[in-house]
Amino acid sequence: MTRLSEKELRIAVLAIVGFAAVATIPLFDDGYYLSLSVNIALYAVLCTAWTLFSGPTHYISLATAAFFGIGTYTVGLGIDVLPFPVLLVIAAIASGLLAGLVGVATLRLSGVYFVIFTLGLAELVRQVVTWLQTNFTNGVGLYVFTDMGEKHIFWMLLALAAVVYVTGWLINRSRLGFAMRIIGNDELVARHVGIDVARAKVILFVVSGAFIGVTGAILAPRFAYVEPPSAFNPVISFQVVIMALLGGTGRLWAPLLGVIPFTILFDQISSRFPNHTSLLIGVAFMAIVYFLPRGVSGLIEDLRKVRGDFGSAAKAKEAVR
């Protein structure tokens, strides 16, 4: 379980080539398509980080906006004082810490408690931040002036995506990943073979939250002006859930299958029919639950299985002849 298999090597090479190819996008366009690519990269990171935790545990986290906003705010507050890379680390620590606190309070309990708690978390943090700012500082908005453009943000997101994928892959091969598979199968058995179920869940939630925080920090220069309602916009949480579930949560790469089509669709709908975004989100949720409960990747696997069964049945027939 320590050396790379041939298959893993092939995937690694393919992934590197793929990343390198995608990284050249800013060389060809710095307008609409680059901005769309930033959005896709953004949601790819968020959804994959979300799936690290929510995939194996089946807990639906709506805390994305809270972690994201904390990251954005860290940069907003510190950009004039500290270098950007340091702020990224602080963003990771701050959002990881919040994830740890939320996890310790709620992850011992059933999924419903967790969903409810995370549902209001972004709003809670927003209220607290607004309150702190209005009472203890001289204004609510923060300016983020940097010399970073869309392409820099894009490259940083790509690098972060690579880190998230490698982390996810490492977790899957580790004891923690194995523990999560057992927990996903049967929590009672997991406890009785010696797994600290709550701790495993909290660790994953912290990792996932920290990545989302860093994503928010990277995006801060794009906003230029940061204020609570835009930084802690709850819609991000819902979009991430939809895209990740649309793609599927069983595999590391699966969310990508939801991110690409949905980001493009959402972009089109929100620019042409800005009043219909709620409806779109609603219909997307319904469609996933009723028609694609295991996401696009689940559908692909099912189709493959059907074809496989069919194939082997045909072979068996031939063998009989």
Binding site: H58, T106, I116, G120, Q127, F238, S278, G282, A287, Y290
Partner: protein
Amino acid sequence: MDILITGTVLGGTYALIALGLTLQYGVARIMNLANGENLVLACFCAFWLYSTASINPVLGIVLIAPGAFVLNWLIYDFAMKPLVNRAKNRGQLEVDSILATFGLMFIMQGVMLLVFGGGYYSYNFLSEPVQILGENYGLNRIVALIAAAVIALGLYVFLYRTRYGTAIRAVSVNPSSASLVAINVERASAFAFALGGALTAAAGALLSTFYTFNSSMGVIFTMKALIIVIMGGVGDVRGAVLAALLLGLTETAVASLIDPGLTLAATYTLFILVLLFRPQGIFGRQEA
């Protein structure tokens, strides 16, 4: 004193929403996250009835609640039943119903946004002051509180003093045993879901008489109602009422003593305390 009365009025409304939700979750096993939209829809209906036909919103409940009952019955029948039948275990139903009702929440919100826009609405109804112990309160608030108390009492009598109410409580304790004693679990679930929707709609009609509402505020109410349900213990009527009053009072106290922007922080503080110390609810018993 001011805090006490304003908090109780707010708590009374919360109680009705939470009772609606606890019926839906405790009996029908559906965590209905679209319940807040149901409330907002009722606000708009009451507003519309009052402004077009000048129907008194308290009497409007007679129209709104049955309407919500039918609507929620249909929602249960068409949208939730397939999930109930599909689910292999309670955990899966939980995840599915959360996602489906999220969808419902956004759809209802989207439709209301299209029809009414994103602006704030309110109307004047019984806004003359009444004096209680030397202080002035809006008559509409007092009427709303009384109406809420009457409805909650009615629900209590129904659940604990009638045959069908007992059957519904039996389903909430254990659906498979309930079906063994010839209770039609599917119908009882649909009924409880619909009744929960009707209660919430009644709360909405009352709320609209003294509260400024808009199309997208539903989710905050859903969240508060969920927190109340958990604080009170799932399926526990008395617990929900007590928790609702507690939350109403705490929020009002924080809003008037510290900062109105921190009401949610107050809610969360209560929530965390309950999760850490009494996750089974205020009146709940330790593991069964």
